[in-house]
């Protein structure tokens, strides 16, 4: 049995504090609310975990998600039907993911700067396509799907939970998973064993882009519109969730369960601060502080 990640204590403390001081925090409706709010973030944080495990980073996810959301809304506005619109959004995400992978693995660019560059490109494209305006009039199909409750669970939570189990299964039970785990810190061994390490490495970034594209389904569904800057900065929440969840940048070690706890910690923190009527701008700042606290705990535990 592995030790409990430090984030679990953090999460427990936050829940207790908010339950005591925030009236309306510990209600079933609010718990579901936290789940719904955390769904999009989990879809980004899962592939981000894999990317960080390979000692990489993808700063473009928020901008790619915004772009995919705009594409999804634009396709729906032009009455292309939900499946085709979603395919287009996922395709845009996948294209950016493959580009990120190509830059990092193929050309050997440092991931944080390469993806900072593609962040600019995705953001620019989203702004140019929309002229900086929201894309509205997307019809009823997506909002209706978003409001649906398969098996009584809100749609976005169902998608997020499904994604979590698919990622967990893939990482622990498939060859892809074990190669990805080995990429960070044990790459040499993979190459010597005749594994096409580069192809697997690129596919990790491709997966990140595709997931950002898919997450557009939830983002655009929630807003009933596509906005070119809707998810700017969300990659920070994803990186924060991964770090808080205990995945390390240097050792190539990580866990999706930890990331789930990290995502919930951020969800609880934002929601609790909301209940306490703390402005959303300070919630952003609080996540920065949360990351530092997690890193301090982490470096304390190492000693």
């Amino acid at each position: 049995m592995r030790s409990v990640p430090g984030a679990a204590y953090l999460l427990a403390i936050l829940v207790v504090v908010f339950a005591i001081f925030g009236s309306g925090f510990a209600t079933m409706a609010n718990v579901l609310n936290i789940g719904v709010q955390s769904s999009v973030l989990l879809l980004l944080a899962l592939p981000m975990t894999l990317i960080i495990m390979t000692e990489g980073l993808d700063l473009s996810m928020g901008a790619v998600l915004s772009l995919a959301g705009v594409v999804l809304a634009w396709m729906l506005m032009h009455e292309h039907g939900l499946p085709i619109a979603l395919a287009a959004a996922a395709g845009v995400g996948l294209a950016f993911g493959v580009a990120n992978g190509g830059l990092v693995v193929g050309l050997g660019l440092p991931p944080f700067v390469a993806t900072l560059g593609t962040l600019g490109i995705a953001q620019g494209l989203a702004l140019v396509i929309t002229g900086g305006q929201s894309v509205t009039g997307i019809g009823d199909a997506l909002p209706a799907l978003y409001e649906s409750r398969p098996a009584g669970i809100p749609f976005s939570m169902a998608i997020a939970v499904a994604a979590f189990f698919v990622f967990r299964f893939t990482l622990s039970q498939t060859r892809f998973g074990s190669y990805v785990s080995a990429l960070g810190g044990n790459r040499e061994a993979l190459v010597l064993a005749g594994v096409r390490a580069n192809a697997y490495h690129v596919s990790v970034y491709a997966l990140g882009g595709a997931m950002a594209g898919l997450a557009a389904l939830l983002l655009t569904g929630r807003m009933s519109a596509g906005h070119p800057t809707a998810a700017i900065g969300m990659e920070f929440d994803a990186v924060a969730a991964v770090i808080v969840g205990g995945t390390s940048f240097e050792r190539g070690k990580g866990s999706l369960g930890g990331t789930l706890i990290g995502v919930l910690t951020i969800g609880v923190l934002k929601n609790g601060l909301n209940v306490l009527a703390i402005p959303s701008s300070l919630q952003v700042a609080s996540i920065g502080v949360l990351v530092i606290v997690a890193l301090v705990i982490d470096s304390g535990l190492k000693k």
Partner: protein, 309 residues
């Protein structure tokens, strides 16, 4: 030096192209405007250059400019004192640098993560602090710093020149400067030869913060207003300026004069797009492409150098 020469040729080519394709480019008003804008970019990018020379990075510079400017504006308008306002802006910039340095040297957080977290923390605090307000209308004396002229030349250009000279002497002729390069080239070797690595890294991030604070003051004087989003679009161009200027992301190679040329190239590109009436929404895309190209060239140069050894 050859590298700088190539970049100056690039500057000349862009200038020639813009002179031919627009009537406005080759007017003294526009050229001075380009220089003033490049000076501001240089001020932000100069401290950033030092961090990259050590093999690190400071992603928080833009956000630091934002909050430092908003604080300076608030203090200046509420106390009526220019000195206190400037002090608040500079002081806060330095404080951010201290915190970055501590995260990197004490907690051993990778620089891009530490300063990335700082970026979003500062952004959040800035939006909360300003609460959607705009502060404007500063005294004419203060505004001179950003929009004034001395002998027909905009004041920010003097500020830039002063820091270019000081920074050049600092990096090239002082032990500190040599140590900055040594840490970036080979950190372990630097440590073994007695360089106080932690102390130097702390100082580098403090300088980066201080330059962001200074840039905030000059920006404020130039814009004559402060809003929460004042620093938002500044980080990517600053990083692009450093990389285009030939400073290697892997540390140990580069120069402040290169960063000035990089800032000039970036400013010329944006100025050219404005003059050619290209939608401003294209700017992040173009900057992104420039960043990727610059890093790619950096990586190829390094690989070729390693192949030669």
């Amino acid at each position: 030096m050859k590298a700088i020469a190539y970049r100056l040729v690039a500057v000349a080519l862009i200038c020639a192209g813009l002179s031919l394709s627009t009537d406005v480019f080759l007017t003294s008003a526009n050229l001075l405007n380009v220089l003033r804008q490049a000076s501001l970019t240089f001020l932000i990018a100069s401290g950033l250059t030092l961090t990259i020379l050590t093999g690190g990075l400071d992603l928080s510079v833009g956000a630091n400019v934002g909050l430092s400017a908003c604080l300076a504006a608030t203090v200046m308008t509420s106390t009526g004192s220019i000195a206190l306002g400037v002090g608040a802006g500079l002081g806060f910039g330095v404080l951010v640098g201290v915190l970055n340095g501590l995260m990197i040297t004490l907690l051993k957080v990778p620089p891009f993560i530490a300063t990335y977290g700082m970026l979003w923390t500062l952004n959040g605090v800035t939006y909360w602090f300003m609460g959607g307000e705009t502060i404007h209308g500063f005294s004419a004396g203060f505004r001179q710093l950003g929009s004034g002229y001395g002998l027909g030349v905009p004041v920010p250009i003097y500020v830039m020149a002063a820091f270019l000279v000081a920074g050049g002497i600092f990096t090239r002729y002082t032990t500190f400067g040599h140590e900055v390069y040594a840490i970036g080239a080979n950190r372990e070797a630097a440590r073994l030869s007695g360089v106080p690595v932690r102390a130097r890294l702390n100082l580098v991030y403090i300088l980066s913060g201080a330059m962001a604070g200074l840039a905030a003051i000059v920006y404020l004087a130039r814009l004559n207003s402060a809003e929460a989003d004042i620093g938002e679009a500044l980080t990517l161009p600053a990083i692009a300026a450093v990389l285009v200027g030939g400073t290697s992301l892997f540390g140990g190679a580069g120069s402040l004069s290169g960063t000035l040329v990089g800032a000039l190239i970036l400013t010329l590109v944006v100025n050219g797009m404005n003059l050619l009436a290209v939608d401003a929404n294209w700017q992040p895309l173009v900057t992104g492409v420039i960043v990727i190209l610059a890093v790619w060239i950096d990586v190829m140069t390094r690989q070729r150098a390693e192949a030669r050894v």
